[in-house]
Amino acid sequence: MVELNEVFETVNMVAQENLDVRTITMGISLLDCIDPDLDALCDKIYSKITESAKDLVRVGDEIGSEFGVPVINKRISITPAALIGGAACKSKEDFIRIAETLDAAAKQVGVNFIGGYSALVQKGMTQADRLLIESIPVALAKTERVCSSISLGSTKTGINMDAVRLMGDIIHDTAMATKDHDSLGCAKLVVFCNPPDDNPFMAGAFHGVTETDKVINVGVSGPGVVKYELSKVRGQDFEVLCETIKKTAFKVTRVGQLFAKEASKRLGVPFGIVDLSLAPTPAVGDSIADIIHEMGMEYAGAPGTTAALAILNDQVKKGGVMASSYVGGLSGAFIPVTEDKAMAEAAEIGALTLEKLEAMTCVCSVGLDMIAIPGSTPNTTIAGIIADEMAIGMVNQKTTAVRLIPVIGKDVGDFAQFGGLLGEAKIMPVNKFGCADFVNRGGRIPAPIHSFKN
């Protein structure tokens, strides 16, 4: 039987500690929409998405209201568009038609983002992959809700350095195309090493080709809850610290599991995974940097931060794994800068640097995320930063990602604002020494020796 203290604990988590279900994401396969005629392809895509997800927003809100935990985002991920558009798209403009179709479908069903304007080029690029990538700057400027992700490397294939170099240009061009809005387009564009097929979080969500026709994936949240629980064990040893995070992660993940099962039942779509991520928001107290501070660092970025994040990431997984029948996606702690108020503050005062963030990505679930850099950063330097991050993912057999925003017309110390959950931050300095001769070599970095496990 339910106890009084348990009820109040749950109620407080929602009311005061920002507990929410961050996203219910419906993955939709568009493989059956493929058609050599572009008009027919776009019609099929629009119909399939609007039919499949017509009840997604309503059901998400209903479940949130019934169980008393809000579902912040309802989203859609689709099969990587480069695969779907390959037969019909003969130009960048053709791919942009697909992006516009996706945007219209997202607006029709009321989701705030649709992910999967993507290409998987970790080993090589087809003509369609290249056209899609080259279309990204205009596609993201012309659309509001479309998110794009490109896989540039994996532990099994190595790193496609031609694509890494190209993405240095594309990120810059995307920034230019949206320069009137602090280069907002780049917030909807992420590059990956080892991307998961079932990630429910944006901008990197896509519906992998190994997935079933439709699937429900749920991303949980709860940095505020972890921070609050840790504030009760201040000064105690690492065993207590770890147990506290683990128990909290269990409770948070159980909410995700319940919501995923309910959404799956009500929508008649199979349950895929729960993503055990701690995803911060710009709201006060909903912050990973605040957890790191609570663990004992003066600011996120101080010596000890990487160890603290390693603990957090591992304990979240240990607690979460038992709470859900299927876990997947990115699963771990996110460290976006602009989306996390305390992280942005740590960067602003110089406690947190790009290099420290890079170290932190070795032990957490994603990568260099939502970092505003000077708009004058050379494209080759952006490619170099991407190459470093891809190498960390490849060698450590983990997902890593880069979502950098070169804010055109702004420099270190200027303020960049993206609005809503995307947040705001001062622009961080980037190492000024060049790497052009390295990234311009071309070709592919071979897979590391420990990938040969067959």
Binding site: V2, E3, V7, S65, F67, G68, K251, R254
Partner: protein
Amino acid sequence: MVGKDKVGIIATVCNFFAENNINIVDLKQTTSQGFINMMMIVDTDLYKGSIEDLNKGLEAVGAKVGCSIKAQHEEIFDMMHRI
């Protein structure tokens, strides 16, 4: 339900449930330093409205007695606090 304790809170809440054909299955309550904390498990099988209607009704009752009252499906508590 949480709020400042006074005469008639439980009676008002119980009356609301009775008027709406909602059966009270379990009730746990404590008062401390003049504040009341209460949890009721209720059966809404015969209730005609939705959870939104119920929450709106409880909000009105809460305003009348000076308490905050929320209804949530019981399963959320079982899931979070039981293995």
